[in-house]
Subunit: 214 residues, 2 copies
DNA sequence: TGTACATCAGTGAACGCGCGTTCACTGATGTAC
DNA sequence: TGTACATCAGTGAACGCGCGTTCACTGATGTAC
């Protein structure tokens, strides 16, 4: 039973065991450090302790690997957003809870963008076709997507009476634009290198604006 | 007197005449079609009808060329924003004018992003260090930057009494985030391929949100 | 429980490619006399 | 106005590199009898 990764020195057979996942994991590490361009097939196989062409047993080409890595990065983003919601202190009333959950969607999104800029950029990198921030993985069984989390939070805002029903349609794109834009400015725009505290404040201000303007 | 570009067939001397600008122009064309990654030194020299290493008479390396192209793309963005303002019909009063000018800043920004996605991405590509959307070119004498245009529009909003003075500080980052985020979603996000009309509408909605939420 | 065999994951070697960058060069241009 | 010369923009050839991808292979594994 070979361990799933880092078995370069001590693999007991020439068989890897779980190369597909090892390659995705390696790709994630590359993406973490250098974004989507850094997801290089040969580098991933190197990191998995395997010969370059071995990757072709599991991915039709480099782009297929990149796509898998991208989807995984997107899943990580969603998980971070859910974690942000899960960490919320209990709210006094349902309205306050809905509002806190909504804000956590944005805060989690921004947290991930700042803590994992390489993965964030990779998640939103478009290999051929995109929209997988919105659509769940074709291979089913994935958790909620970032877009779905945002939609649910907005629905709750309406239920709690904090957002008029007639403002609900299209609201996700307003909120998403504002938060996504700040993320971009923080990652490779003029707000790069902002102190995490200031970045957090900027995030709260943007979310304030969304709440007011939505 | 060789023409500035496309003189591959009919250059009368082996001297180019204005290679530096020709390379930037070629780089812009590459960026237009494929974004910053497409700004390949050899491709630029090819398009300029010159041998690869000739570029080194004018740029220390590939990155210096990319940076020059990026700055030019940013200038194009600013010019598009100014054009959007200049095309505004005369307003009835000063407040209406200020408001229209503010909205034109965002509309022009989004127009450029959608019409020239490759250049837009290149303008915001960070070669080493960035923030040149905010800071004027070191080599002086450039026009207003996008950031300066936005700042001026916000100042006018305050003067016209449409924005409380205490909301002015930091307002550029709120507005910028929202518009920039929409641009990103339109260019390589889930809103890609949106019909220009719908994209325009989305832009107006985002600007509405900004006006309300700022 | 033991043997024969098909499968297919990973090997080893090689390919062609375009890239950025270096070197020593040449010859058109502008300047000094 | 004409000649000698220094400058330096562009040439020509070459480099080493890492990349994605292909091919024919081998041998560990699981399955059928």
């Amino acid at each position: 039973m070979p361990s799933a990764e880092n078995d370069k020195p001590n693999r007991e057979t020439y068989r890897h065991g779980d190369l597909r996942n090892a390659l995705i994991e390696a790709g994630l590490e590359l993406a973490r450090q250098g974004g989507p361009e850094a997801v290089v097939l040969r580098a991933a196989t190197r990191q998995a302790g395997v010969v370059p062409n071995a990757a072709y047993r599991h991915f039709t080409d480099r782009n297929a690997l990149l796509q898998a890595v991208s989807q995984t990065a997107m899943a990580h983003l969603a998980r971070t957003m859910e974690a942000e919601q899960a960490a919320l202190p209990p709210a006094t009333d349902e309205a306050a809870a809905a509002r806190a959950r909504f804000r956590a969607v944005g805060t989690g999104y921004l947290r991930f963008a700042q803590e994992e800029p390489g993965l964030f950029r990779t998640a939103f990198h478009v290999p051929g076709d995109m929209a997988h921030a919105a659509a769940p993985t074709a291979a089913g069984a994935a958790g909620k997507t970032p877009f779905e989390l945002l939609g649910a939070a907005l629905d709750d805002l309406v239920k709690a009476g904090l957002l008029p029903e007639d403002r609900r349609p299209g609201a996700e794109f307003l909120a998403w634009s504002a938060v996504h834009g700040l993320a971009a400015l923080l990652i490779d725009g003029p707000l790069r290198g902002l102190h995490p505290t200031q970045a957090h404040d900027a995030g709260q201000h943007v979310i304030d604006m969304i709440e007011r303007g939505i």
